[in-house]
Symmetry: C2
Subunit: 400 residues, 2 copies
């Protein structure tokens, strides 16, 4: 298999030392949580631990980590080929289940896994699973309970928390993703005009997200979320995608998009008004930009997540704007449906201490009664002022 | 909210009669399963029942159906705005949880839902949940168990099975998706050449998938799976996505892609060889095309899923090719991570009876030791020969 393995990995993998460092970090966390065997089903966690990459997360799969030995890849037989081609481990240990376990009412892949763990004597001790994760189901949990001597314990977020502080190699990927999102926003600003159909604008966004740039020396990967770009009163709803109708003069549209380089993301939102912006948009711009400045001042190592949120919310309050939702989340390596890391949140009450190398999407979006407004930044925490990953003019863009 | 509601729905919704027919069908199935209250978290099921559309499935949400009354939308407070704009129900009944429930270690959205069900007196009777679905977690199950008088029962696939036979309005959307996938394959065949970077080809694929076509009168939506297009020996792995390196002469690449029109899919795969194809590719083409013909002959109302699979596998066997995985699945309305419906499968042992209006991706892909080969069709079951949704030349495409 050696020649196959070479075909992909040289562009996708990190160094062995990087993976070994991650594994050591994870094992310390497992030890602290009293977990002997960790079954992690989140594709972002699987990739972070092993380098595994592929759109196979629609069937059950996992990476298994114990105190000693290399991580084990578990998944569908046909996807073992993808594991061989993408994981960093030499001669990887793979547990592959036959296709009859796929979407079968009679048997579950976790039945198979419980049996293989038992074969290896790994069924003893505390086994951790991600109880609140898209990729590990309630039925999978029941199958493991039935097939193991004792129920697994909840290890939701255990790996995710280890991913918080980024290595230099990870930051390098995020900076490359930032170049892509800069290009995407420049393209939008250049091409948008009244009458342009929204699906055509999305085609432009993908084009700018993906194409190889000889000056940059790379092209783009798919982001974990498709472009969100609701217009007018629909922009009060944060998660609408697009349709094929023409964009209209007199409406604002926010663009919540991310550049993605080898699964690492740089999300960034901007808002464009076609025509003369209403006072509400100008007021929102003023409040958000001022709040953004205060939030960025609070975004430094030693402060906490809530410090950023409170600094931002205080400015909004002064401007008479109420925001009922968190104002950011950690980012980095991700697969659909979310480019967030699902650990801490920028919101009052979250006292997670900020450390150098943590990365956040400072999500200062406003979804008001009849409009939406987003000007956001993705940042790297440092001892001093944070690094803003991308350089996109931080203002309401007006195009007439 | 009336003006907001109008903004989206006219392009996305089906008729009220269509939704009411679906609800009646679902209620018969609930009654047969002895389920009083169904909590369905799958976004495809939520959309099928209510029309709800949005990229909000990365947080917990559901549609609740009981024997009487309109369906209830449950989700995050900020996404209620999206529900108001997309569901078919007039004056919709919405249960929205505050943002502090989002990705919190201390509280779970299903705690909130259990309390609201109890408020309404809906906590009694048998409550069905989707135990083996990406969008309902093991922790959500535990939260409902803790908050309700008795544990919910498993209703995985209950809604999905109702979606199997498509209405004329649904088939119309799938035929539109077929026009898009035809355009996508035509674009690939036109643009691909040795030296072209794969990410640039993906940009072309998205362009053809999305842009408004004045002749067709519509543009495209995002498919539930990103383009899969591994080359050379990497094509032995079915679920690799892309990188930014040049494509090479002397390699075959399969393109597993789908057109998508308002969340309805038409998947279709083709394989392209750059240069002179090896005998292995020519052999695979011969076997797959012959097997496809036999399979299509078996694909008619009254036969079963396994009839199609056995017809196809018999031809492969004759050609000395072994395929260890299912050869198709039902398709239609879908959200990531999968454009399949996750009910029946085209494989030996699946005796699901084929009915007119069922739609399948006849997935005749081969992932062999050092190559991959995919020529597939999406079909509509009829009393006679099936309708092939798309018209793309059914052969190995060779480009020198």
């Amino acid at each position: 298999m050696e020649s196959c393995v070479m075909a992909i990995v040289d562009t996708f993998r990190f160094s062995d030392a990087e993976y070994e460092g991650r594994l050591a970090r994870l094992r310390r966390a497992m030890d602290a949580a009293g977990i002997d065997t960790l079954i992690t089903s989140d594709p972002s966690n699987m990739a972070w631990i092993t380098g595994y990459d592929g759109w196979s997360f629609y069937v059950h799969q996992a990476v298994i980590v114990r105190a000693f030995g290399a991580p084990v890849w578990f998944g569908r037989e046909q996807d073992a080929q993808g594991a061989l081609r993408t994981v960093y481990m030499a001669d990887p240990d793979i547990i592959a289940y036959p296709d009859i376990y796929v979407q079968s009412p009679d048997r579950h892949p976790m039945d198979y896994l419980a049996a293989r763990l038992t074969d290896r004597g790994w069924h003893k001790g505390r086994i951790g699973v991600e109880m609140d994760n898209y990729w590990f189901s309630a039925r999978g949990y029941q199958a493991l309970c039935a097939g193991l001597p004792q129920p697994p314990v909840d290890a939701t977020g255990l790996v995710n928390w280890q991913r918080g502080v980024k290595s230099d190699a990870e930051l390098d990927r995020m900076r490359k993703a930032a170049r892509l999102v800069e290009r995407m926003h420049a393209r939008i600003a250049d091409r948008i005009e009244p009458g342009m159909r929204k699906c055509d604008l999305v085609a432009e966004i993908y084009d700018a997200a993906l194409r190889y740039d000889p000056d940059l020396g790379f092209g783009g990967d798919y982001p974990a979320i498709v472009p969100l770009l609701p217009s007018g009163t629909d922009a009060a709803a944060p998660h609408l995608t697009w349709d094929d109708r023409p964009m209209r003069r007199g409406e604002g549209t926010f663009f919540e998009i991310a550049g993605c380089f080898r699964r690492y993301h740089c999300p960034l939102s901007r808002t464009i008004f076609l025509g003369r912006p209403t006072q509400a948009f100008l007021d929102a711009e003023k409040a958000v930009l001022e709040g953004m400045d205060r939030g960025l001042e609070a975004a430094r190592a030693g402060n906490t997540c809530e410090d950023i949120a409170i600094a931002f919310f205080d400015v909004l309050k002064k401007h008479g704007i109420r925001k009922d939702n968190r104002t950011g989340y950690p980012i980095g390596l991700s697969y659909p449906p979310d480019w967030g890391e699902r650990t801490c949140s920028l919101r009052p009450g979250d006292r997670t201490v900020l450390k150098p190398g943590m990365t956040f999407h400072f999500m200062t979006g406003l979804w008001l009664e009849d409009m939406g407004f987003e000007i956001t930044e993705s940042i790297v925490i440092r001892d001093g002022a944070p690094e803003c990953l991308a350089d996109v003019p931080r203002r309401l863009i007006v195009k007439d």
